[in-house]
């Protein structure tokens, strides 16, 4: 009896130990860097793999393990490894207090100030790019891209509506939108199921109606959404856009679905970022038939955000990680890859790419801009962003009056801060 019991118990233990041994082992050797990023597009992955290959060739014995995940899975994975002492050595992430700022607070980002001194990175990147790195104190991350957003437009459809020049004021933009409606053209495409697509317009409307100082104060929490009259004006404008200028059925479309309207020539405008230069070509559009103008907010600021590569504070290979970051952001490497992730490199020695004529249109936007305003979801906390989206959509459907929207948002912000 006892012998049988022991035999089966031993078998069970062996089985359990065997099963536990199936867990994956991480890269423990000091010559392997683990690099986490989001899933790369068909045109981006070969370029990234080439970068890695060139780094490995230049550093014999060193291997870079690239791991890609979808955007949400990437965020979840990083959250799960925070504080565990494991995870990547280097990872890609979005700048902003609501995004990378949370990882910095969670101890998942190493302060790279000593490496900035060692490699003179302060001289390598534009001041705008560095602003996104130093915003949390110290130097967190190395600039990877400078993304900006503006209005892409279809020249043929503008011509059809009798629009000869790009709008330079908000009133001109509204007049152009009216002209497009009169010509039977959908002025702008948006996909409402991904709330951030409409959010881009609302962000620009707040910038337009409130001005740079007040808009910054609103998104940083130092001004009240309930007290500023410009907030109501912003929501009133949003409602106007929804009622008159958006594509039909926008609330039940994703941004991918609505973008088809732009690609097919059924919508005249789209608020997109520098990454869209390649997207329009991939979808069969002639880039010479398109133009780009900054949303005419009147403040001179450019809508944009930054992306960076960070070093995990738990990494035991920070020196090697810094070497890798120095390599991939160096001038020769960036010259070979410019235009792949953004039209402009964060490296100030690298000019815009020439393959796509749209890339060149961005350079003056950056140089002429009097600063940058970030998307709401990079400025606000996660839960406030969710409420910001709910209210923007409720204004569009008429469930919330524009005059009540700011007060409702502020009530939520006050409640979440308790």
């Amino acid at each position: 009896m006892l012998r049988k019991f022991l035999a089966t118990a031993t078998a069970a233990v062996v089985l359990a130990v065997g099963l536990s041994g199936c867990s994956a082992a991480g890269a423990n050797d000091d010559k392997t860097l683990v690099f986490w990023t989001v899933t790369q597009g068909d045109e981006q992955l070969p370029v990234l793999e080439d970068m890695i290959q060139r780094f490995e060739d230049a550093h014999p014995g060193v291997t870079v393990d690239l791991e890609q995940r979808s955007i949400d899975a990437h965020k979840d994975a990083l959250r799960q490894v925070a504080g565990t002492g494991v995870g990547p050595d280097v990872y890609f992430y979005w700048e902003g207090s609501g995004l990378a700022g949370e990882l910095v607070d969670a101890g998942l980002s190493a302060d790279l100030t000593s490496y900035y001194n060692k490699y003179d990175w302060d001289d390598r990147f534009t001041s705008a790019a560095l602003a996104g790195i130093t915003q949390y104190g110290g130097h967190h991350g190395v600039p990877w891209t400078r993304q900006a957003m503006a209005v892409y437009y279809n020249k043929t459809l503008f011509k059809k509506a009798g629009i000869a020049t790009e709008p330079t004021t908000y009133d001109e933009l509204i007049a152009d939108a009216d002209a497009l409606v009169d010509a039977g053209v959908t002025p702008i495409e948006v996909g409402g199921t991904v709330n951030w697509h409409i959010m881009r317009l609302l962000d620009s409307l707040v910038e337009t109606e409130c001005g740079a100082t007040t808009a910054t104060a609103l998104f940083s929490g130092s001004a009240s959404w309930a007290d500023e009259t410009c907030v109501t004006a912003s929501y009133e404008q949003l409602k106007t856009w929804g009622d008159k200028y958006f594509n039909d059925g926008y609330l039940s479309m994703s941004n991918d679905d609505s973008s088809l309207l732009f690609f097919s020539g059924d919508a005249a405008m789209a608020i997109e970022g520098t990454w869209f230069d390649g997207t329009v070509v991939e979808n069969g559009m002639d880039p010479n038939e398109l133009g780009i103008f900054r949303f005419p907010t009147g403040t001179g600021r450019l809508s944009g955000f930054g992306e960076a590569l960070y070093v995990n504070d738990a990494s035991t290979k920070k020196d090697l990680a810094a070497t890798f970051l120095d390599f991939v952001t160096s001038t020769p490497i960036q010259k070979d890859s410019v235009g792949t992730w953004a039209s402009l490199s964060a490296n100030k020695e690298v000019a815009a790419g020439t393959d796509n004529p749209l890339d060149a249109l961005w350079e003056p936007f950056f140089t002429e801009a009097d600063g940058v305003y970030n998307p709401a979801d990079q400025s606000l906390s996660g839960e406030v962003t969710t409420e910001y989206w709910r209210i923007q959509n409720a204004v569009l459907t008429g469930e919330i009056a524009p005059a009540d929207a700011g007060a409702q948002l502020q009530t939520f912000i006050d409640g979440s801060a308790k």
Binding site: M1, A12, A106, S252, G382
Partner: protein, 307 residues
């Protein structure tokens, strides 16, 4: 009128004793460890976390806040009650529509008829698809400009009924539910078909000899015999309805204006999008309490005569 008595199983020669019980213990340990690790511990920890404020990062502190998360959930969360209402609505509609439809189809397909197995396969097929696939298919059907539904309505002269099926907050939840019916009917159909095989033909024949019409046979013979099956279908329907998530995520993501938000999705959104694990856990606990309060009494009631 003939009544149905529970069937008795054949007596077994197997007699459990203490010695066999001891031998079973080591075999049970791995399953027990997995159950405790992956079911019991997360469950208890979720309840614990609902009393804390925590962003979800291991490096961030978990601050005890007592019942604050629940107070905020019930009094200040602008989405919670909408999610609650939608979840309750989903349960009620699921018990009403797909379950009854499953029963009717099972009764129809339990008769001898040409192509019976083909029809059974056709009706069951949607149940095989992953919910996210069903969501993608129906999202395209509902597409306001290129979708099949609006185009069909146009072609048959009912263009006036064309609608933003997923974009109108007042009907979006029902549009998703229609897709759910399409997917869920097959599962109930199979269970009811299996249950109908347990109805003793001699009882049906006896009832007919006694002069019972089709409705009387169904009411007094078939339905009582289906009671255990119905209990299973009801319980599974309630549980599946309360945890509906993927269809909503795939079709609307909870929008527009959170009009299709449900408790399971709101729990995930609070925890992983809003970085508010305490609030998300509180929603999960509310969901658990509702599930138990609906399922346990019904199970006790429906199975009380089957001991």
């Amino acid at each position: 009128m003939t009544t149905l008595s529970p069937r008795r199983g054949a007596p077994s020669s197997y007699r459990p004793d203490a010695r066999n019980g001891m031998l079973a213990v080591p075999y049970l340990v791995p399953a027990l460890v997995l159950y405790v690790g992956f079911v019991l511990y997360p469950l208890v920890d979720t309840v614990r976390l609902s009393f804390f404020s925590w962003s979800g990062f291991r490096t961030r502190p978990q601050d005890f806040v007592g019942v604050d998360n629940y107070v905020r959930l019930f009094t200040a969360d602008p989405v919670f009650w909408r999610a609650m209402l939608n979840s309750v609505l989903w349960v009620a509609l699921s018990l009403l529509v797909p379950m009854l439809l499953s029963l009717v189809l099972a009764l129809a397909l339990n008769r001898r008829m040409v192509g019976r197995n083909v029809f059974r396969s056709i009706f069951y097929m949607p149940a095989v698809f992953a919910s996210i696939t069903v969501a993608a298919v129906w999202r395209w059907i509902y597409n306001p400009t290129m979708g099949a539904l609006n185009q069909l309505l146009d072609h048959v002269g009912l263009g006036g009924l064309a609608h933003e099926w997923l974009g109108d907050p007042s009907i979006a939840i029902y549009s998703i539910f229609a897709a759910s019916i399409w997917q869920a009917v097959g599962f109930g159909l199979v269970l009811f078909l299996a249950g109908l095989q347990q109805v003793q033909q001699e009882l049906v024949d006896s009832a007919r000899v006694d002069g019972a019409n089709a409705w009387h046979v169904f009411r007094n013979v078939t339905l009582p015999a289906l009671r255990p099956t119905t209990a299973v279908v009801v319980v599974l329907t309630v549980i599946n309805s309360l945890k509906v998530y993927d269809l909503v995520v795939g079709m609307t993501g909870g929008g527009p204006v959170q009009s299709t938000q449900v408790l399971a999705l709101w729990s995930v959104t609070q925890s992983f999008q809003n970085h508010n694990v305490g609030m998300g856990s509180a929603v999960a606990v509310v969901l658990l309490v509702i599930s138990l309060s609906l399922v346990v009494p019904y199970l006790v009631w429906s199975l009380r005569d089957n001991k």
